[in-house]
Amino acid sequence: MTHSPESEPAPLLQARALAYARNDEPIFGALEFALHPGEIVLIEGDNGSGKTTLLKLLSGLLEPTNGEVLLHGAPLTTARLSHQVALLGHLLGLKLELSTLENLRFAIGLGGLRSGITPQLALASVGLEGYEDQPLRTLSAGQRKRVALARLLLVPAALWLLDEPYANLDREGIELVNRLLDNHARRGGAALITSHGAYAFTSGTPRRIALRPGTGNTEHGTGAPAA
């Protein structure tokens, strides 16, 4: 565990001895890591190593078997998540019958709006200008993913939990995700993204956490937080 001096602010997100077992079968062992503002961390692991489960634990959707998750230094409860965590899962949480703009307006109603951005701007920055009134049903899987990314831009969450954000995206889309992550980190946000390794996070040298079944985590890369 990183021992931080008193003066340093509590990390945005911290996992302490975090473990999860499904039906007494350990999915992953005790995890120890901290995520500071401005950091992007890549969680690597094979299929079934518990990447999605980890994100659900960190977002509060699942209760850990052992250990705890700290958000700004205090234990995580769903009530405290308010406006701080945005989760993008395998299921995008978008309605196919609604247009892209209607979907985004609903997300804003539910999660609030970041200052200085509008749904139209967000759509433009994910390359979906002119698709405002298209029903989501008529969009491709990659385009739907881009709408979900636009939602991330709109809601005022400092912590992004992205489950396989590169899946379904073309080369340009992958670059788009990297650019969005970069901007988010520069604004002081942090992100935890999962990948099974086939897609590379190209920009910078992100910290990596490798999930191995039944054991703790191993960290690679530069772990120094930008204070």
């Binding site: 299921l91 949480g93 309605k95 109603g109």
Partner: protein, 227 residues
């Protein structure tokens, strides 16, 4: 940065679900058609004598309406679960019970209200005495929200399972039998010339209780279902 208020979230959810119902209005009409068909079949089976039909009219309409609502109950959270919207609702900073209450309200508005609106027509089909019609409408107005609320708790419990339709019916039916007994009982009492306010007041009391407790129970049940 604008944090969305809870009322804005409720309005956004109400608007989204109403728009969705309108876009899927073919599905939304099913319960209505079901109730009309069931009631319309009774005169064919029992013969057209007005006296026979009048005696069973209130009970038949009540059963048809409750079963029609039961048909649509399974879909209450299903599509939200399948596309990930439910996770977004759970992770939103607003009280889940309140958001689920909004979904129940939409269910009642789009399923029960049309059924109550055609109840006078159904009453005509079965020769229900005109003096009993107001009692029937009041009883339906009290019993149908009760079913929506109780049903929401049961749906929240079973939504995580596959093919939960049968289980849901088994769970809900015993719970709504009292509403049926008191609702149809009030109509029968009015038809026989007895006092009918007591059963209606009982329904009202249960509705008041369910309005407060059911959304809380549904929220708790849903969190269990999602894990």
């Amino acid at each position: 940065m604008r944090a969305g208020s809870t009322s804005a979230a409720c309005v956004a959810l109400l608007r989204r679900d109403l728009v969705l119902t309108w876009r899927r209005r073919g599905d939304a009409l099913n319960p209505l058609l079901f109730a009309i068909i069931v009631v319309a079949l009774f005169p064919f089976a029992l013969g057209p004598e007005a006296d026979t039909l009048a005696r069973i009219a209130a009970g038949t309409i009540f059963v048809a309406v409750l079963l029609a609502m039961l048909l649509s109950l399974d879909a209450l959270f299903r599509s939200d679960l399948e596309d990930g919207s439910l996770e977004q609702l759970v992770l939103s900073p607003h009280p889940l019970a309140l958001l689920l209450g909004c979904k129940v309200l939409v269910h009642w508005l789009t399923t029960a209200l049309p059924l109550i609106a055609v109840a006078p027509l159904l009453a005509q089909l079965l020769h229900l005495p005109e003096s009993v019609l107001p009692v029937l409408l009041i009883a339906l107005a009290l019993a149908t929200p009760l079913l929506s609320l109780i049903g929401a708790v049961c749906v929240a419990l079973t939504v995580g399972m596959r093919r939960s339709g049968m289980l849901l019916t088994l769970l809900v039916l015993p719970l709504i039998v009292p509403a049926l007994i008191f609702g149809a009982g009030a109509c029968n009492a009015a038809q026989a010339g007895f006092a009918y306010t007591a059963p209606l007041l009982w329904l009202g009391a249960w509705l008041a209780l369910a309005l407060i407790l059911a959304p809380l129970a549904a929220a708790a049940a849903l969190k269990i279902s999602l894990t």
